[in-house]
């Protein structure tokens, strides 16, 4: 347990260092931009000031829109988390069965079609997929499932809530990668001695290879996909009018509202680093249980 704590504190320190490095870069970019807003200031003192404000979550007021950044960003951040994890869940739900199926050599000719299908799905441009889905749904239900408070009150909140998640789950280009990774790893593990031995005893092969063949590769790939999915969320949130961070960032870009964007970048870096820390610790605890 003490070893676990040691590794955890090391990784945590590492993550904090990285976050500080990122904020330094952001601070530099602040000073490139003309105008006055929070964090703008000379030298190290200004940077420390910025750090203090960032970590105490006092983000100040946007100079462009004049609104409180914190109340703008935090709900959006929450919505984006929902979208990210939901779509990851959808991706995994689709990709893992295909990956498992394609690991079995006796189903190779069937699984080939499935993996081509996964390639097609994951390379559909997500903006087009979004419109396609909107078109189909709007045509057959007579309802436009974009996210808005009034619409969700009107009777189809579920659809407008689920559709973006499903679309991003399909359209972030990770399905084919998960299929390939899980399928490949599982096929490799299934030819290892201990799995063959389990098969010889009449046990389920999948049960024997689930740890090394599915769980470990899945954890490492899912967590490393999170930054990319936040990127994909920008487009999907734009299409579905989902009040998330991506749409806010895009709006900020159009308004040239750098502070909001910087705060968004800070929060997403915090988020990415936290998930990476989580991943490292999960994989670490797996490895210790092995030895």
């Amino acid at each position: 347990m003490s070893r676990f704590l040691k590794v955890f504190s090391r990784e945590l320190a590492n993550a904090l260092l990285l976050v500080i490095g990122v904020t330094a870069i952001l601070y530099l970019s602040f000073n490139l931009m003309p105008g006055t807003f929070i964090g703008k200031g000379g030298g190290v003192e200004g940077y420390l000031n910025l750090l203090k404000r960032l970590f105490s979550f006092r983000f100040g007021v946007s100079p462009v829109s004049g609104r409180d950044i914190k109340s703008l960003v935090l709900p959006a951040f929450r919505n984006t988390l929902l979208l990210t994890f939901g779509s990851l869940f959808v991706s995994v739900l689709i990709a893992v069965p295909i990956g498992i199926f394609s690991a079995y050599r006796r189903f190779k000719s069937y699984s080939w079609a499935l993996s081509i299908f996964s390639y097609i799905i994951s390379s559909i441009p997500v903006f087009f997929l979004g419109y396609l889905v909107l078109y189909v749904v709007a045509r057959y239900t007579g309802f436009l499932p974009v996210f808005s408070v009034s619409a969700s009150a009107r009777g189809m909140p579920f659809l407008s809530f689920v559709l973006p998640i499903v679309v991003l789950g399909l359209g972030n280009d990770s399905i084919s990668e998960i299929v390939r990774l899980v399928g490949g790893e599982l096929e490799r593990v299934m030819s290892l001695d201990y799995v063959i031995a389990a098969k010889a005893r009449g046990e389920n092969m999948l049960q024997a290879s689930v740890h090394e063949g599915i769980v470990i590769p899945l954890i490492s790939i899912v967590f490393s996909k999170i930054p990319f999915i936040i990127g994909g969320a920008v487009v999907v949130e734009h299409v579905f009018n989902w009040p998330g961070m991506g749409r806010l960032a895009f709006q900020a870009t159009l308004d040239r509202d750098l502070p909001v964007l910087i705060i968004i970048a800070f929060l997403s870096v915090l988020f990415v680093r936290t998930t990476t820390l989580l991943k490292d610790m999960i994989l670490y605890s797996y490895r210790t249980s092995e030895s």
């Binding site: 006796r106 799995v195 098969k199 010889a200 009449g202 046990e203």
Partner: protein
């Protein structure tokens, strides 16, 4: 005559070399009979096809690049017979004679998926169908009827799961008891039966904390958990020191007596095999070169022995040899490369007796298994006719 439990007939396994585009012979014309409560030893140098034989009996050879042919008759337990018949009949349009008395052919219908073209020599095969068919039949048999102890002890245990839960899983194959405590109790009992005297402690360990001898015992316990009718032990003594070797062998013999089970023991060490086996099969370059009762093989009664067996036996030093400080005898040469298609006897380059007139015959024609006495056959032209 006691009852047969398994009979392998004319097993042949070829592998396809994708790069060179040709078939490599792994095993050819192997026949093996195992009777109830009998120990059969399979002896030969490494690379002569012992493990391939065992794996094809277990149905663990992937059908993709290779050809597996022959018939494997097996007598399942009473309660599994219906399921086996169902598995064999399913998907088979033609009627096969898959029965021989109480024995069932486990390779039944596999030949449907393979077709040969003579000129140019081509094998047309549906590997997936082959695998599915083979898997369907073998799934009924693995575990409860045939089980296997593997060669690489260290890698044959799942490193992510504790020993205890692996044992419990194996026990579950036999009795579908939901009661965890009962399962654990049975697992502890099994560990005790392989002479691990602190089962509670070992059950909570991960496999890499075990020593090799210990993990070999655990593996045997796991294999015994499902009370198989036939246990195949593939090199159960590799990597063990001499005292441990004999302990493991004793353990196998003991449990065989107790559990009403037959044992096929595979080893390159004829000294180990002869302490336990009733019948011994000697393999060389994918062929059975001699088989017979232990006495006939080891002592060479009436001086009838295959030259290879003779060399193999004499390379194990006796006590007298050690006392006199004699040098160890070595068989000259190496096992021939299976890629080379030999026309004659595969042992010819290393054979001491192939001299004079008989040598031409050895070079041009492959000998068959000639019967010397009843139940003792030798594949050598010296004993022809």
């Amino acid at each position: 005559m006691s009852r047969q439990i398994a009979a392998l007939e004319h097993l042949k396994v070829y592998f396809y070399d994708q790069g060179d585009r040709r078939f490599i012979r792994a095993v050819e014309d192997v026949g093996l009979t195992v009777e109830q409560k009998q120990v059969v030893g399979l002896v030969g140098e490494s690379g002569c096809g012992k493990t391939i034989t065992a794996l094809s009996m277990m149905g663990l050879i992937d059908g993709e690049p290779g050809v597996v042919g022959g018939r494997f008759f097996f007598r399942p337990k009473e309660e599994d017979r219906r399921a086996l018949i169902f598995a064999i009949m399913r998907g088979n349009r033609k009627k096969y004679d898959c029965r021989k008395g109480e024995l069932f052919d486990l390779f039944c219908g596999l030949d449907d998926c393979v077709r040969f073209d003579a000129d140019p020599f081509t094998v047309i095969k549906d590997p997936e169908k082959w695998l599915r068919k083979n898997g369907r039949i073998m799934e009924q048999m693995r575990g409860r009827n045939i089980s296997m102890v593997f060669q690489n002890t260290r890698e044959a245990l799942n490193p992510f799961v504790t020993v205890g839960s692996q044992l419990v899983r194996a026990v579950q194959c036999l009795e579908n008891d939901k009661n965890r405590a009962a399962l654990a109790a049975r697992a502890e009992e099994l560990l005790l039966s392989v002479r691990i005297f602190n089962p509670g402690y070992v059950m909570n360990m991960y496999p890499d904390a075990l020593s090799i001898g210990m993990s070999q015992r655990v593996l045997i316990a796991i294999a015994l958990a499902s009370r198989p009718g036939l246990l195949i032990a593939d090199e159960p003594t590799t990597g063990l020191d001499t005292t441990n070797k004999h302990r493991i062998i004793d353990l196998l013999g003991e449990n065989m007596e107790r559990g009403n089970m037959s044992l096929v023991i595979i080893s390159h060490n004829i000294g180990i095999v002869r302490t336990i086996a009733d019948r011994i099969y000697v393999m060389y370059a994918g062929l059975i070169v001699e088989h017979g009762n232990k006495k006939e093989i080891v002592t060479g009664r009436k001086n009838a022995r295959h030259p290879y067996t003779e060399a193999l036996v004499s390379s194990v030093p006796t006590d007298a040899d050690i006392k006199r400080g004699k040098k160890l005898k070595v068989i000259e040469g190496v096992v021939p490369d299976n890629k080379m298609e030999t026309e004659g006897c595969p042992f010819l380059p290393r054979c001491r007796y192939a001299k004079g007139g008989i040598r031409r015959k050895c070079r041009t024609r492959r000998p068959e298994l000639f019967e010397v006495t009843s139940g003792h056959r030798i594949r050598c032209w010296l004993f022809a006719g």
